[in-house]
């Protein structure tokens, strides 16, 4: 299923209101789950959203994403994660609800919203999907366009999800689009919160560990955060060298790395060259834009550096079961 399901590092913790539901990782939300997450960065937002959507697609559920200018980034992350997207969109399993509809819901009275949600779930059951799940960018509602607090809409959603066994919902309150006060208010009304700890996240670059000597980099590396990369590589090498039966490769997944500056590329090449002869630095999913930087920095001559380019999106689609 690809790395979207390699989310064993994600945890659900008890929510601030001390609710009674403690469930597993994002992809393990059980039926009737309604959880929230508070991403600290856009990269974490795309990561959590894509993982949640991917899990639903893998389970044969009907998956809705309520868009508000963010669907391109979410779909992009799904592609980075090698999750087939075109097929589910074509078949109607994955549906992007337009920004107009998303925003329009926050102008509607609560009973109408409840009816809308129930109709979505009815439709997914009627069409034979294994379940229903929804998430999206709901920050428009935080400004109370109809004078109704976001928590009231959330209460409606909670009631719908609890009554419908097949339904799951993940509410996202990211720190760039919600105030601290709004976040704490919404946290308090959710029974569970999804957390996804990172090795590093400065809002521009997010590093998540995916195993011993393995990590995933998402975002951009420049002068402001490049020291983290050398620290990460040397730290991982140290751990790998000390661990019994550890792999000989340090593997960095760069599928979601959109920018890399020249000095960082040079330092990665040089760090790889400094590895013991038995070990290699393997970069996977490298985008053409990043690949060109490595090409210009002598990567081809570094024996202990292996670079695997990001396959075209169509390659992942071939694995998509019709």
């Amino acid at each position: 299923m690809g790395s979207a399901l390699q989310c064993s590092h994600e945890h659900l913790s008890r929510s601030a209101n001390g609710g009674d539901a403690l469930v597993g990782a994002t992809d393990e939300l059980t039926s009737a789950d309604h959880a929230c997450a508070v991403p600290v960065s856009d990269e974490q937002l795309w990561e959590l959203t894509a993982a949640f959507l991917a899990a639903g697609l893998a389970r044969g559920e009907k998956v809705y994403y309520f868009d508000d200018g963010t669907s391109d980034a979410v779909l992009g992350r799904l592609v980075d994660d090698r999750v087939p997207v075109a097929g589910p969109l074509r078949r109607g399993q994955l549906e992007i609800v337009t920004s107009d509809v998303t925003r329009g819901a926050f102008h509607a009275p609560l009973p109408a919203v409840q009816e809308l949600l129930n109709s979505y779930i009815d439709l997914s059951e009627r069409d034979g999907w294994a379940g229903f799940r929804m998430t999206g960018q709901m920050s428009y509602g935080a400004a109370r366009p109809a004078g109704i607090p976001l928590s009231s809409y959330d209460a409606v959603l909670d009631e719908v999800v609890r009554k419908r066994d097949s339904a799951r919902a993940l509410c996202l309150y990211d720190r760039t689009r919600y105030t601290d006060e709004q976040i704490e208010e919404m946290r308090a009304v959710h029974r569970a919160e999804v957390t996804a700890p990172a090795a590093y996240d400065d809002g521009l670059l997010r590093i998540t560990r995916t195993g011993l000597g393995r990590a995933r980099l998402a975002g951009e590396i420049d002068h402001s955060n490049r020291p983290m990369i050398t620290t990460l590589l040397l730290g991982d090498l140290d751990k790998v060298l000390r661990a019994p039966n550890a792999p000989n490769d340090i593997v960095l997944n760069l599928a979601s790395l959109r920018f890399l500056d020249v000095t960082t590329a040079v330092s990665m090449v040089q760090v790889a060259e400094g590895f013991p002869d038995t070990h290699r630095l393997v970069l996977t999913g490298v985008r053409p834009r990043v690949q060109r930087v490595f090409d210009r920095c002598g990567a081809a001559f570094a024996r202990q550096l292996a670079i695997e380019e990001l396959p075209e999106p169509g390659v992942a689609e071939e694995e998509d079961p019709e």
Binding site: H223, S224, V262, T263, V266, V269, P288, F301
Partner: protein, 322 residues
């Protein structure tokens, strides 16, 4: 293959000047040079006016000669002028000659002064020859530059005398007693400021933590100009490298200015620092060098990259056309 430590490359370039009174005089000196080089089995490259090239080709018969790319820049749609930059031409020559030297044991270049590039005072040529002494210092190249004995600007003559280690006289290359190293030449004749442009379409002050904003601004601008995707991404990299240099080696705050027309993108980066290296990014970096590659790559990616200093600091102008 391990990347080996850098060993200082010796000066291989033989940079000579020759003076002529008329075109016939020029040909009388240049043709024997070309013949002798061909007899030695060298590759000969020309950067001369059309009429001179025709005469040289006619004189040497069927011998294969290389024509280097014209140095006269097209008229900028932003400044309304053909902005000649000696350092940009030197970077171009460096790229061309490095390619030629990969396949050839030795190369002889015949270059002729072109008054269309004199600009206001002829300092273009001083800058070009000084920059060539840096850009191709390590190449096995004999470059003979022909200058008129009585140019319009005295600067052309003085620069030619100072920048060439050898002097062609009586058909022989002799040591030039007036020769000075490029650092000395550029200290007394610093790179000139280019044509002043009007108010920019965008002005952005940034620091080390706001390079993302710089990239975002350039990304938007390349979209407006209509560059192909890869070319646009490369230009974002180029500007990022120059912008990074400004805040890393110049001052904590720097400024980006952008001009975008349908056919051209012009970016300027200004900082208040004093650049140690007067013409950075001309020397091809060794893979072992941790630094100094960014501006070199930027020079390869832009149609023009001109660095100059004045009392207010260090400035870089970049031009790119789709």
């Amino acid at each position: 293959m391990k990347v080996t430590p850098r060993t200082p490359a010796g000066l291989a370039l033989r940079h000579a000047v020759a003076f002529h009174d008329t075109t016939d005089d020029l040909l009388a000196q240049a043709v024997p040079l070309v013949r002798e080089a061909l007899d030695r089995g060298e590759r000969v490259a020309l950067t001369v006016p059309g009429v001179v090239e025709q005469a040289i080709r006619g004189a040497v018969g069927s011998a294969e000669l290389v024509s280097l790319a014209p140095a006269v820049p097209p008229v900028s749609s932003v400044s309304g002028a053909a902005e000649g930059s000696g350092q940009t031409t030197a970077a171009l020559r460096g790229r061309e000659l490095r390619m030629l030297c990969r396949d050839e044991p030795a190369v002889t270049v015949v270059a002729v002064h072109d008054e269309r590039l004199d600009g206001a005072d002829g300092s273009y040529w001083t800058e070009l020859d000084a920059a060539l002494n840096v850009a191709v210092a390590d190449l096995d190249v004999t470059m003979v530059c022909f200058y008129p004995s009585y140019p319009l600007h005295l600067e052309v003559l003085e620069g030619a005398r100072a920048n060439h280690a050898l002097l062609l006289a009586g058909g022989e290359l002799r040591e030039n007693p007036a020769h000075r190293c490029p650092v000395e030449v550029l200290r007394s004749r610093p790179a000139q400021s280019p044509v002043v442009l009007g108010p920019p379409d965008l002005r952005l002050t940034y620091n080390s933590w706001q390079l993302h904003d710089v990239r975002g601004a350039v990304e938007t601008a390349v979209g407006l100009v209509g560059f192909e995707r890869a070319r646009g991404e490369d230009l974002v990299l180029a500007v990022n490298e120059v912008a990074t240099n400004a805040v890393e080696h110049g001052t904590a705050d720097a400024e980006l200015c952008l001009w975008a027309s349908p056919t051209e993108l012009v970016c300027e980066v200004h900082d208040g620092g004093t650049l140690g290296e007067r013409l950075p990014g001309l020397k091809a970096p060794h893979p072992k060098d941790p630094r100094g590659r960014g501006v070199w790559i930027a020079r390869q990616l832009c149609d023009l990259l001109h660095v100059w200093r004045d009392a207010s600091g260090t400035h870089v102008r970049m031009h790119a056309r789709p």
